[in-house]
């Protein structure tokens, strides 16, 4: 049996660790609330934009932007959204594993892939994996700003416009609720036709300077806003996943401490018993 002193130091170190995990849990919980409200705040922009784009399509069905035309897929660009930091359970790994499966299917079908990584974890993982990373963004922090994403997304959009890639998809964690985050893959470009919503009213706009310029401008921003939304949503997922992971870590630490405490008490008692019997034995001998 281990010495009482060793057990005591072990209990002490576990207690310290549980203090840290407890603190991280609470920090994550408060950050999660902020991230969730940020998530809600980004919705109106994309919704409004979708409305305007819908109007434009109805007004100009004959004009097809390159972002609208389906091509035969030979090369896919993946935008992968991940967290910058670890200690958030299996959040990133679940996403990567699911993505990996999809990538293998593509490889079997002879489709090549390019990556655009957002967040440290994706950069590290796909750098090791040996994928072709064409652009990246890291250290977005707790409040991601869209200007940090513009360049990263533009590399992908340019590659699409030049015909280097034939589809752009995004991989991120969808926020279901605090306990559940589901890895999600979505096609960004060509814009799926479901994005054109049914309209109740119908009229034509005046366009300044011209309908094509406006549409070009809008579509680029639309894609950017979708990526931004994914980043914000992934941020909320990260915080909630970290909260849950840290909660279970604190719980485990508590259990461990209880068990060790029991062992420590037994060891202590055994030592006392032994001492008494030695004294008694010594007294009897005299």
């Amino acid at each position: 049996m281990a010495g009482a002193k060793e057990i005591r130091t072990q209990i002490g170190s576990i207690k310290n660790t549980s203090k840290i995990t407890k603190a991280m849990e609470m920090v994550a919980a408060s950050k999660m609330r902020k991230a969730q409200s940020r998530m809600a705040a980004t919705r109106p922009y994309a919704d409004k934009m979708r409305n305007v784009i819908g109007h434009l399509f109805h007004a100009h069905p004959e004009y097809k932007h390159t972002f609208m035309i389906e091509r035969e897929v030979k090369r896919i660009g993946y935008i992968i959204v991940s967290s910058d930091r670890g200690l958030c359970g299996g959040l990133n790994n679940n996403l990567f594993r699911r993505l990996f499966k999809e990538l293998q299917e593509h490889r079997d079908a002879g489709i090549e892939v390019d990556f655009c990584t957002i967040g440290n974890k994706a950069l590290g993982f796909f750098g090791r994996f040996g994928g072709n990373i064409v652009s990246q963004a890291v250290h977005l922090g707790d409040t991601p700003h869209i200007e940090n994403l513009i360049g990263t997304v533009k590399v992908m959009l340019d590659a699409y416009a030049d015909g280097k890639i034939d589809r752009i998809s995004i991989a991120y964690n969808h926020f279901v609720n605090t306990m559940t985050q589901s890895p999600t893959f979505e096609q960004l470009v060509p814009i799926p036709s479901t994005a054109e919503e049914e309209l109740k009213h119908h009229w034509d706009y005046i366009y300044e300077p011209g309908s094509k310029e406006v549409l070009d401008n809008l579509l680029g921003r639309y894609v950017e806003s979708l990526v931004y939304q994914a980043v914000v949503e992934n941020g909320a997922c990260e915080q909630s996943a970290r909260m849950v992971a840290m909660k279970s870590a604190s719980d485990n630490a508590g259990e461990l401490i209880d068990e060790l405490q029991l062992i420590y008490n037994k060891a202590r008692q055994a030592a006392i018993t032994q001492e008494i019997s030695e004294i008694v034995g010594g007294a009897a001998a005299v």
């Binding site: 652009s135 890291v138 513009i150 009213h201 706009y205």
Partner: protein, 142 residues
Amino acid sequence: MAMTIHVDIVSAEGEIFSGLAEMVYAPAVMGEVGIAPRHTPLVTQLKPGEVRVDTGNSKEMQHFYVSGGILEIQPHIVTVLADTAIRAVDLDEAAAQEAKRRAEDAMSDRSAEFEYAKAQSELAEAVAQLRAIDRIRKGKRS
């Protein structure tokens, strides 16, 4: 009561303003536009400048700075899709180059001093922004 028009000013990072107004002024690319209720449907790009909202009941107008974006007008709804970032074609290009370079750096030399690369990219960003601000100022003066 005077006629009003519903105004929404939203950016990708959140809603900025939502409410009723008697008149809205916005800096469109072809010149400033004033929008009264029952304006003709119009979609236009905005250049950096001020969006002013005359809510009617207060003496002062509400001012919002936008660094570009898109203005959409329906007879009773005005929507300003504002950019939060300073946008210009070559500025976007610079950001794209930057993102590309970062990726290449990360791929080719993983042991490179990251702080150095980060500092450099921040410098490039600052320089590009300064250029844009300079141009905006020049544009205003002329």
